[in-house]
């Protein structure tokens, strides 16, 4: 991955405590798994920023390499990769996610 793209991704992740790469936007998710994660975050009242990977092919492919994770959505908290849909749902069920985001 080139440095410019890496810096861009790093910059996005660093722009907010909770950051979500998703397909679509929180108001109009374009995939069931992206919708699932935004639902979880909304139910916890989380304050987060998101990026629509459908708007940028480089970021869409780049974050897969960046996180060593092949799918989208991807959730980051405090700059750290947390997981995709299944992990986020599981962590919310166990209460771990609430602890991480301080909800």
């Amino acid at each position: 991955m080139d440095k410019e793209l890496q810096d861009k991704i790093q910059g996005l992740i660093g722009s907010k405590k909770i950051f979500l790469f998703m397909k679509g936007t929180p108001d109009a998710p374009m995939c069931g798994f992206s919708a699932g994660v935004t639902n979880v975050l909304r139910s916890l009242g989380a304050d987060y920023n998101s990026f629509n990977v459908l708007s940028d092919m480089n970021v869409r492919e780049g974050i897969k390499e960046f996180a060593n994770w092949p799918t989208i959505p991807q959730l980051y908290i405090d700059g750290e990769f947390v997981g995709g849909h299944d992990i986020v749902v599981e962590m919310a069920r166990s209460g771990e996610l609430q602890k991480k985001i301080g909800a």
Binding site: C31, G32, F33, N68, W69, P70, T71, F81, V82, G83, G84, H85, D86, I87, E90
Partner: protein
Amino acid sequence: MTVQEIQEKIQAGLPGSEVEIQDPYNDGVHIKAIVKFSGFAGKSIVEQHRMVYATLKDELKAEVHALGLETKV
């Protein structure tokens, strides 16, 4: 790629694992894999999922749009 082939690929990549594939829409696209593998012991959930994804590298690029994953030790 059939559901059967996905199951075999995961099992080949994680020898000794038990793999159950659910295909709720019967479309071979929105599938869920439940993987029980002793090698997950001591690994974080992110690492466990990465290990499964690694066995399906090519499939995830193309055909399998949505793979739900549940891992157990």
